[in-house]
């Protein structure tokens, strides 16, 4: 099992609840806007505390049974919808911010490998504000990958991109799925996207 999630959270008037267990590959959390998809990713990342429930990823208990790991202990690679690049670091600084593995560590991709994988070589000295939407998204994905995550959370990674950029990012996500074999939880409200990428779909209402 990649993700085993059973959570409940009352947010104002809205009750967010989800229950699913998934296998390897990409799992899509699919539903209309405002169904609480982002809240569920935040609960798995440790940024939002569920009222009750249990969260396991790759068999590790992240939350539940009196366990509540801090976000920095969960080893999530979170690609946010609005990128959240640090405005006071250049691209290179953003990429290395979460780097856990040292260069030469055989367990994970090196800085150079990630830069090549995502085609970031020409961007390293730039400030985040100067990046286009597609470039910023690639940097955000690279930053998540360099933190040596045990799983990826992707929140609508194709929104606000034009068609060629969407295709480019989709190819990247497919390569992460096939070459890095990371379990990915993927939030989307786009049926076509989900059909192409996901191996299982969790509908949310």
């Amino acid at each position: 099992m990649s993700f085993e999630v059973e959570v409940e959270k009352q947010l104002g008037h809205q009750r967010v609840a989800a229950r699913f267990a998934t296998d390897a590959g990409i799992t899509a959390l699919f539903g209309r806007s405002g169904a609480g998809k982002t809240s569920i990713l935040n609960m798995i990342a440790g940024l939002l505390r569920p009222d009750r429930g249990r969260i396991l990823v790759n068999g590790d208990l992240l939350f539940g049974e009196n366990v509540d790991l801090r976000p920095e202990q969960r080893h999530a690679g979170y690609v946010f919808q609005e990128d959240r690049l640090f405005p006071h670091y250049r691209v290179a600084g953003n990429l290395t911010y979460g780097r856990r593995a040292q260069d030469g560590d055989a367990d994970w991709m090196s800085f150079d490998a990630v830069v090549q994988f995502l085609g970031l070589a020409g961007l390293l000295d730039r400030w985040p504000q100067s990046l286009s939407g597609g470039e910023a998204r690639r940097v955000a994905i690279g930053r998540a990958l360099l933190s040596a995550p045990r799983f990826l959370l992707m929140d609508e990674p194709l929104t606000s991109l034009d068609a060629p950029r969407r295709e480019e990012i989709m190819l990247v996500i497919e390569r992460i799925r096939d070459e890095l074999k990371l379990p990915i939880l993927y939030v989307s409200h786009d049926r076509l996207e989900v059909d192409r990428l996901a191996s299982s779909v969790v509908p949310l209402d």
């Binding site: 940024l47 976000p71 969960r74 979170y78 609005e82 959240r84 933190s147």
Partner: protein
């Protein structure tokens, strides 16, 4: 325009008092700004009002409170003299304390605004990348509030340089010890025929304030190269 030794002494004393006041106020200002920006506790409104009190009170009242608390027989003044050998009454240290208290509300406001303006989702992102609370503070929160900190220091410095009412009430107007620039200008105004001294000292006050503002703007521009930050 050449300055007399006495005038140089006044400038040096004013700068010393203002720099010490700003450095003294910076850590508590940051702490208070943090509490007011991020804290959720009972009595927050009360703390907010208390911090702003020196801004709205007549400075002479603030000076009198300082006299009561930090005078040689006051509860805090007696304690600092006994245990730290630190006397405020009629000393430049008292002038710095008065300036610090008067600068506090302005500095807290400036820092609080910059803390409020930080996108807290960036702090969440940093934590998912493996940074603990301490590292998030050092690498995200503090650098992003830097323009606010610098603005606070400039405001505090300018406010300290101009401090008059609380200072003269608390530590009097002693040449070489507590006679800062505004007090010296006031003294000269009392002396018939000293208009040229008043003009010179006033020009110096304008120049010092102007230099402080320009310097701060340059520092902020450099620290936020390409990112667009401003003090003024």
């Amino acid at each position: 325009m050449s300055l007399s030794a006495e005038e140089w002494q006044i400038i040096a004393l004013s700068l010393k008092v203002s720099v010490v006041a700003v450095l003294l106020t910076l850590p508590p200002s940051f702490l208070l700004a943090w509490l007011l920006s991020r804290g959720r506790f009972r009595g927050k409104l009360l703390l907010d009002a208390l911090v702003h009190l020196p801004l709205v009170l007549p400075p002479v009242v603030t000076g009198w409170f300082l006299l009561l608390a930090f005078g040689r027989t006051g509860p805090i003044g007696a304690w600092t003299e006994r245990w730290l050998g630190l006397v405020f009454m009629f000393r430049w240290t008292g002038a710095a304390l008065a300036a610090a208290v008067m600068a506090l509300p302005l500095m807290v406001r400036a820092i609080r605004l910059s803390l409020d303006a930080i996108d807290r989702r960036l702090e969440g992102a940093a934590r998912t990348l493996g940074a603990g609370r301490g590292r998030v503070f050092r690498t995200i929160t503090l650098p992003l509030s830097l323009p606010g900190l610098l603005a606070a220091m400039v405001l505090g410095f300018a406010r300290s340089l101009g401090e008059f009412g609380a200072t003269i009430t608390f530590v009097s107007n002693i040449p070489g010890e507590t006679r800062t620039l505004p007090l010296a200008i006031y003294t000269s105004l009392q002396i018939p025929g000293a208009e040229s001294t008043v003009a010179r000292l006033s020009l110096i006050a304008v120049a010092l304030s102007f230099i402080a503002l320009i310097a701060a703007e340059l520092i902020v521009r450099r620290s936020s190269a390409g990112r667009g930050g401003h003090v003024i």
